[in-house]
Symmetry: C2
C-alpha cells in the first residue's frame, strides 16, 4: 500500500519510513526539517551523528533497493498539504510531524503557543485535505499516553463506558494532560474524533508510551541510516538520559520521588505497531484508539534497572533525586490497558538488560559527543526556563511560518 | 472591582460591559472590532443599527456618568495582551473575544483553521499573561453548552464522578463538540483547566446556552446603546431567525426533525450571570464550570412557541422542515444540570410570549433592514459552503494577523 509518513526525518518517523519501505510498502516521506532547526535553537544535538536527509535517502536506496518519494513540506502550509494529498493519493498517512517535547512547550509563552498552533494546524490541515482530496485514506496519528495524565481509575483505550444516574453512554476517555504539548495532542484527538463523526473519515490514534532504544533492523544497516538519540533535558527521554548520565560518571537524576509511572516500549515495537495499524484500517466514520506501549515502569524503577545492568559489568552507579521541574503526581495509581495491538499480532520486546547494555554501548561509542551542559533540566513547569548555552534564536522567517 | 471585558463590541460583550459599569464596577473594554469585518466578509449585518464604538462609548458616558476604559487589541497579539494586563491589573477578566459562529467555522478549511487558531491563541495569550502579570486575576471564560454535544447521560457542570472497575475519580466531563468552532471551545476548556492545575490560576468557565433577546436595562437607555441582533444563517441564533422569518412572511425553517434540544437563556440573564461569576471568585488553582442557561427547548418546540405568540395577535405562521445543513442527532436524550448559578442567586427570566412579542416588535421596527438573502443556511457540515451575495473577501492584512 502507499503510505505517507509525515515527520519522516524524526526519531521515530525515520525508522518507521524505513521499516514500511523494507516491508514493501510504497513510502512517501514528508518533513519540514524543523526538528534540526529546533536543535540549533536549543543548543542540543543527537548523540548519534545524523546524516543529511539527502544522504539518508540515497543510502536507503543503495542499501535496500527501495526508493522513498521525498517531499519537504511544512504541514502548516495548507496549499502544500492539499497538493501532496491530491497528487500522491496515499492509502494511509502516518502522522508523526509535531513538536513533541513537553519541556520545549513550557520554555516561554511563545514556545507554548507555537507548539499548540503548529500541532493543531498541521493536523487540521491533514484532516481537511484528506476530506477533500482522498476521503478513503486512513489517518494514523501519533498521540501520547501523556494525554491521559494519572487518573485514579483504569485507563482504557480511548473510550470509556459510563453509567451515570441509571443511564449509559460510551464516550471519549476524559483527559488530564500535563503540559502545553500534551494539551496539543488532546486537541488533536478531539479534532480527529470529529473528522470521523462528521466527515466519515477513518482514523487510528496511537497513544504511545515513552520509547526507548535507537536501533531497528533497518537503521542498523549503515551508519548513515541511524536515527536520533536524544538525552538532553528538552528532547531526551528518560532511559536514554540515564544511560548518558551513567556513561559520563554522573548520578542518574530522578525528578522528585520517582514514583511517576508511565507506559514504555522498544523502538522496534513502535515501527511494528505502525504497520499493524496501517494493515487494519477502521471503517469509514470510525475513530479508533490504541494505547501503544508494552510495559509500565516507575521512573525510579527504571533508574534501578540501569543501575543493575551496569553493576553486572562491575560499573558503579548512583541515583540522585533532584527537585522536580514538572508539576505532576509523584505517587499515584496507574493501570493502563494496552490490549488492542497485541490482538492485532504485536509480539512485544520487553525491556531487558541486553537492551540496556546495547543503549549503554551506543552511548559509549559516542561519548565524546555528549554535551554535558544539556543534561540538566532548565525548564520549570511553573515559570518556564531557558535553552542551553550555545542555542541560537530562531530566524524570524521561521517564526512567521507559524499558523501560515 | 476592576473588570476587563474582552470582546466588548460584541452581541453579549457590549451589554455585559454596560451592565458591569452600571453596577459600579471599573470596566476595561477590549475588542479588535473583527466582528464588524466578519460581517463585511459574510455579507451579513445586525438587524438593529449599531453605532461606532466611539459613539457607543461616548453615549454611555453621557447617559450613565460612567466611563469605560477602551483598548482596541487583538488577543492574538501576545505583546499587546501583556501590556494590557500588566498596566490595567484587572481583578477579573470576562473573555467573550472569540469567533463564535459554528457555521462560519465550517465554510471552508481556511475558516475552520482560522477559528481554532484565533480562539485557542487568544485564550492562551490571556492565560499566560495573567500567569506572568496578574496571577490573582479571576479569568471568566465564555464556553458553550455545545461543547458537551448530546450524550445519552445527564450533563453535569463541567466535571463528572466516575466509578470504573471498583475505583473512583472526578474528571472533566467528556465532550462531543459538533463543529470546528465548538471544538475550539473544548480546546480552550482543557487549556483553562491546565492553567489552574499547573499555574494555580483561578478560572470560571461559563458553558452558555443559546441566548435570545436583544435588550437589557442599559442598552434600552438610548438607540446608540443597542446591541447586535443577528438572524442570518451564519451568525443568527434560532429564536431571532424565527422572528425575522415570521416578520417577512416566510415559514419558520426548522433544520430536520427539530427534535434537537438545547439550553436557552434571556440576554438579561447572561449579563447577570457574568456579574455573579465575577463576585464569586474561585480559590487559587480552582477551575470552576457553570452551565449557564435557564430552560431547555427543542427547536421545533421553539418554533411552535413563536407560532403561538403570533396567533395571539391574529398573525398566521407556518413551520417548514428543511434539510439539516448540520450533522447532528435530531432526536436524543438531553438533561443538562444548571444549578450552580441559581445557587449564587440568579433569578431567571423564563421565555414568555411577552418576550417573543418584544423580539417581534424589534424586528418589525427594523423590517426594512432585513437582508432576505442571508436567512437561508448556505453552509453544509459535510462539504462547507459559501458566504452571502455582497460579502467581501477579507483583506490580506487581516488574514496575516492570524496567530501572529
Amino acid at each position: 500500500m502507499r503510505i505517507a509518513v509525515l515527520g519522516a526525518d524524526g526519531y521515530l518517523g525515520w525508522p518507521t519510513a524505513l521499516h514500511l519501505s523494507a516491508r514493501g510498502h510504497d513510502v512517501v516521506g514528508v518533513d519540514s526539517l524543523v526538528r534540526r532547526r529546533w536543535d540549533e535553537e536549543c543548543g542540543t544535538d543527537s548523540l548519534t551523528p545524523i546524516a543529511s536527509i539527502a544522504d539518508r535517502l540515497a543510502r536507503w536506496q543503495s542499501e535496500s533497493g527501495h526508493k522513498i518519494d521525498w517531499h519537504q513540506i511544512d504541514l502548516c502550509d495548507a496549499a502544500a498539504v492539499d497538493e501532496l494529498i491530491r497528487t500522491t493519493q496515499p492509502d494511509a498517512i502516518v502522522h508523526f510531524a509535531e513538536q513533541r517535547s513537553a519541556p520545549y512547550s513550557m520554555i516561554s509563552p511563545r514556545h507554548g503557543v507555537e507548539t499548540q498552533v503548529n500541532n493543531v494546524v498541521g493536523t487540521l490541515n491533514v484532516l481537511l485535505s484528506v476530506r477533500d482530496h482522498a476521503p478513503d485514506c486512513h489517518v494514523i496519528k501519533l498521540g501520547t499516553m501523556g494525554e491521559y495524565g494519572t487518573p485514579n481509575i483504569d485507563i482504557e483505550e480511548g473510550f470509556i463506558e459510563i453509567e451515570h444516574n441509571g443511564r449509559h453512554d460510551r464516550v471519549l476517555y476524559p483527559k488530564q494532560p500535563g503540559s502545553l504539548y500534551h494539551l496539543s495532542k488532546v486537541h488533536d484527538s478531539h479534532n480527529l474524533d470529529f473528522a470521523c463523526r462528521i466527515w466519515d473519515l477513518r482514523a487510528t490514534d496511537l497513544n504511545q508510551g515513552v520509547v526507548y532504544g535507537t536501533t531497528t533492523d533497518e537503521t542498523a544497516l549503515h551508519p548513515q541510516l541511524v536515527t536520533r538519540f536524544d538525552y538532553d533535558g528538552i528532547w531526551g527521554t528518560v532511559l536514554n538520559r540515564f544511560c548518558v548520565e551513567a556513561a559520563v560518571g554522573e548520578p542518574l537524576t530522578v525528578y522528585g520521588k520517582g514514583g511517576q509511572t508511565r507506559g514504555f516500549l522498544d523502538i522496534r515495537d513502535t515501527v511494528r505497531c505502525i504497520e499493524l495499524a496501517a494493515l487494519n484500517a477502521p471503517a469509514a466514520g470510525e475513530y479508533r484508539v490504541y494505547n501503544q506501549f508494552t510495559e509500565q515502569f516507575s521512573v525510579l524503577g527504571l533508574a534501578e534497572k540501569v543501575e543493575h545492568a551496569r553493576a553486572a559489568h562491575g560499573l558503579p552507579t548512583t541515583i540522585s533525586h533532584v527537585s522536580n521541574p514538572r508539576r505532576e503526581k509523584e505517587e499515584h495509581y496507574y493501570n493502563a490497558k494496552h490490549q488492542r495491538l497485541l490482538d492485532l499480532g504485536l509480539e512485544p520486546h520487553g525491556l531487558s538488560e541486553t537492551l540496556i547494555d546495547h543503549v549503554i554501548q551506543t552511548v559509549e561509542a559516542n561519548v565524546s559527543r555528549v554535551r554535558r551542559n544539556t543534561i540538566e533540566a532548565t525548564i520549570d513547569w511553573r515559570k518556564g526556563g531557558h535553552v542551553y548555552a550555545g542555542g541560537r534564536a530562531p530566524a524570524l522567517a521561521a517564526l512567521a511560518g507559524i499558523g501560515g
